[in-house]
């Protein structure tokens, strides 16, 4: 399982697969104020990126993996 759901935060593990996108989307629909913790993430599939861009959730922690963080920041902070 790539996602661990806390009360209002999803903690993303190392890799987010294409299947995770649907799960993530469902959760974000149900938790409009949900936060995402990406600190451990080293890669997420583009489908997840789409979900994040469409939902614009609060990112409680950016990926520690710098190249990934740079791209996600570029995507979520126009």
């Amino acid at each position: 399982m790539a996602l661990a759901f806390k009360k209002v935060t999803v903690v993303v593990s190392e890799q987010m697969t294409v299947e995770d996108a649907e799960v993530l989307l469902d959760w974000l629909i149900k938790h409009p104020r949900g936060r995402i913790n990406l600190s451990a993430c080293t890669h997420l599939h583009a489908a997840n990126l789409q979900v994040l861009m469409a939902a614009r959730p609060r990112i409680s922690a950016w990926p520690r993996h710098a190249p990934l963080a740079a791209w996600i920041k570029a995507a979520l902070t126009p």
Partner: protein
């Protein structure tokens, strides 16, 4: 199949063959840097070739192999067994793909996508070796090129001014900046693609943007799996590298090399390029390159030539966009650049020229200077076309590659020719005996002599074409021996000699399976384990030698090992246990005779049946296979010292010279190579000694048998009018033996065809042949008969 693909397959097989050989050589001499370099180059070449076609699986594996070889070559990773194993495995995969492509009749390579997983695994396996090496060598760098995004219409001005300035400086410094826009197709997720991954592979861009191609739907209507992303970036990566990176989805990316700004940053071309955008693009790339070259500060001996080449290039480039060039000024600039050994005058000229030409891309094509403006500014140095040179240039070599099928056809035709020609003597006889025209008969015979000579020469010529080096079958052995020895936990050095010895294609091909079997036998049963060898005072590494040589009209192949040899005592015992010999023979058989028992059907000496030699296939199969092409096998063994098998085969099996004999009212052929002589023996000279027929020939006692006995017929052999029997003296073992027949006739050349169908199981026959009069001749095999 298209010629390019054809060429790729042919060259690919050649290269793979050489790669395999070099890998094995490298295992023996891992420090041979020349060998290493060659190996790298071969892999590199093959990868380059595969890239010309849509063969991502092959390219992927070869790319990984190349990276690994590169690391090995640079000493970042030692060449060891895992490296050799992985590379061999990878090359096997590539060969399988090439075979698959070769088998398909399509003009384009078939889709090899179903091998994608294998390719991925192989590539990962190769790269894991690399990763292991890199972990210990932190200086190693990623080889993956870093591409970047492009815009549909680059809103250059929309970039932060800080970025604009930085880009301007970098472009001035000659960095190959590119603007990349990547718009993955909507259904790409369903194809297993991950555009984000692609983008992350590009490396760190100077600037980037991720956007959506349409507004995002409300979350509860969002289709997460319809990709509407757009990635943009500016990267310090040559456009070619970016094209390479997105090679399989070129329609989804736009890659625009950025130009150094004129006064301010010039926007890159718009999304819809003008008709000859390609020209303008190329012009810019070329100009940029010349600027970079002129910016070099080294001073090599070839500087003058380099400057002149730049001048030529610049002149051509401007001509290509139809911009007039002040050639005198250019020559002057070149001259002073040459004199001062500095690029400055040329750079200055280029600045001037670009200013004149309004610097930027031509808006439209200029009017042509001539009606056919193909070479408007052709350099004066141009020489008239040298006719005839082209043909010379194209002469690749003096070897012609011909499809085997064509040679086979030629062979069949000459076979028919030989048979047809043999009808002429019959015709001559008929002319004389039936029609009584002796004159005509003589003429026919004379013509026959001439045709016969030409046919023989033709046969010889065709046979020469069919000659192949033994290496054709030997080349697989280094790998086979290596792999098999490894599986058995044995250490074996393979020595091959005389690989260039040639023989007929059919002979060579017939040799393949028996040789494999013999070599496996040697590895399996002959050569001992390293421990066993050391215990008996031998070096732990066993030695297996395969040598080939020509001896008159035979090719002789010897396979010898320095293993444990064959124990005649054990053979006797086994043979007795299996009922192959009775008690008397147990005592009487010499050691050599005992050893030869391994050729008896159903004999297998293996204590335990291994998966290598298999069960039930013994040396008898080998001997029969060799005998099928008129070959013989001799086995010599010295207990504790090794085994030597000697195969002797005819150089050519195309034409067999047989003697026609008669017995029991039928005609048979007997191969002349088994016939020592034919004699007539009076009935009185035949004695019965120890219940065996014998006679004395030139003071020597020769045992006799009758052919009818051998054939299981109960008919007496018929003597001639003088009560003499015709005797065929054959030499099969060491001593001559006489076979009594009814009559010996002429000798003829025939094309021997092996018996097929239900007749194939019939022992004692070498095969059959069609005669000139249309009848079929059965050819005896005295070896089997006796």
């Amino acid at each position: 199949m298209n010629p390019l693909l054809d060429q790729f397959i042919t060259e690919g097989r050649d290269i793979l063959q050489t790669i395999g050989e070099r890998l094995l050589q490298l295992e023996d001499t891992p420090d041979d840097s020349a060998l290493m370099g060659e190996l790298f180059r071969l892999v590199h070449t093959l990868k380059g070739n595969s890239g010309l076609f849509d063969l991502p699986e092959m390219t992927r594996v070869l790319h990984a192999a190349e990276d690994l070889m590169d690391a090995v070559r640079d000493g970042r990773r030692p060449f060891d067994r895992p490296v050799a194993d992985r590379l061999l495995e990878a090359m096997d995969f590539v060969l399988a793909l090439i075979d698959e492509i070769g088998d398909s009749a399509e003009s384009a390579p078939p889709n090899t996508a179903r091998h994608a997983n294998d390719a991925l695994e192989l590539a990962n396996a190769l790269r894991s070796l690399l990763a292991a090496a890199q972990a210990t060598t932190p200086t190693a760098t990623e080889t993956e090129p870093a591409p970047s995004p492009t815009p549909a219409a680059i809103p250059f001005e929309s970039l932060p001014s800080r970025i604009q300035q930085e880009l301007a400086q970098r472009l001035e410094a000659g960095e190959p900046l590119c603007w990349l826009t990547y718009e993955p197709e909507e259904e790409c997720f369903f194809k297993g693609e991950d555009p984000f991954h692609q983008v992350l592979q590009l490396g760190e861009p100077y600037w980037r943007r991720v956007s959506s191609r349409e507004d995002w739907a409300p979350l509860d209507e969002l289709d997460a799996y319809r990709c509407i992303l757009r990635f943009e970036a500016i990267l310090n990566t040559p456009a070619e590298a970016l094209h390479e990176h997105f090679r399989y989805i070129p329609e989804q990316v736009q890659i625009v090399p950025l130009q150094p700004p004129a006064p301010s940053i010039a926007p890159a071309p718009s999304s819809e390029p003008p008709p000859d955008a390609e020209t303008a693009w190329s012009f810019n790339v070329v100009l940029e390159a010349q600027r970079e070259i002129l910016g070099l500060t080294d001073n090599p001996p070839w500087l003058s030539g380099r400057l002149r080449a730049v001048a030529t290039t610049l002149e051509a480039a401007f001509a290509s966009i139809g911009q007039a060039v002040d050639r005198d000024a250019l020559q002057q600039a070149l001259h002073s650049a040459d004199a001062s050994q500095s690029s400055q005058p040329l750079l200055h000229w280029l600045d001037e020229q670009q200013r004149l030409g309004d610097t930027q891309l031509p808006a439209a094509a200029p009017p042509p200077t001539t009606a056919t403006a193909a070479r408007p500014e052709a350099p004066e140095a141009e020489e008239p076309i040298k006719f005839g040179r082209r043909a010379e240039d194209r002469l690749a070599g003096h070897t012609l590659k011909v499809d085997q099928v064509k040679i086979d056809r030629l062979m069949n035709l000459i076979g028919e020719m030989v048979v047809t020609k043999n009808a002429l003597p019959y015709l001559a006889n008929r002319a004389e005996e039936v029609f009584g025209t002796r004159e005509l008969a003589r003429e026919i015979k004379a013509q026959y002599g001439i045709i016969n000579r030409i046919a023989e020469e033709m046969q010889d010529a065709i046979m020469q074409i069919r000659m192949m080096p033994v290496s054709f079958v030997l080349q697989r052995f280094p790998r086979l021996v290596r792999d098999t020895a490894r599986r058995l936990g044995k250490e074996v050095r393979l020595v091959m000699e005389g690989e260039s010895t040639e023989a007929d294609k059919n002979i060579i091909e017939a040799l393949a399976d028996p040789l494999v079997h013999i070599v496996r036998n040697s590895l399996d049963h002959g050569l001992e384990s390293p421990a066993e060898r050391r215990a008996s005072g031998k070096p732990s590494e066993g030695r297996l030698t395969i040598s080939a040589r020509q001896e008159s009209d035979r090719v002789v192949i010897e396979i010898s090992d320095d293993g444990r040899g064959i124990d005649p005592e054990r053979i006797r015992r086994k043979a007795y246990e299996r009922g192959l010999i009775g008690e008397p023979e147990l005592e009487r058989l010499t050691d050599q005779e005992a050893i030869n028992l391994v050729f008896a059907a159903g004999f297998s000496t293996a204590e335990q049946v291994s998966d290598l030699s298999g069960r039930g296939v013994g040396m008898d199969v080998v001997r029969n296979a060799i005998a099928c092409v008129n070959g013989t096998v001799e086995l010599h063994s010295q207990l504790g010292q090794g085994t030597r098998l000697q195969l002797s085969l005819p150089l050519s099996m195309a034409v067999t010279n047989v003697m026609i004999i008669e017995s029991a009212g039928q005609r048979f052929g007997v191969p002349m190579d088994t016939v020592a002589e034919t004699v007539r023996v009076a009935r009185n000279d035949i004695r019965t000694i120890k219940r065996r027929l014998t006679t004395v020939l030139r003071g020597r006692l020769v045992p006799l048998v009758t052919l009818n006995d051998l054939l299981g017929l109960t008919i007496e052999q018929a003597p001639n009018g003088d009560d003499e029997f015709a005797v065929l003296v054959v030499r099969i073992g060491p001593d001559p033996l006489g076979i009594i027949v009814d009559d010996c006739r002429e000798t003829i050349d025939i094309i021997l065809k092996p018996l097929t169908g239900i007749l194939a199981g019939l022992g004692g026959y070498a095969g059959s042949a069609l005669l000139g009069d249309g009848s079929v001749l059965l050819v005896l095999n005295p070896r089997e008969l006796l």
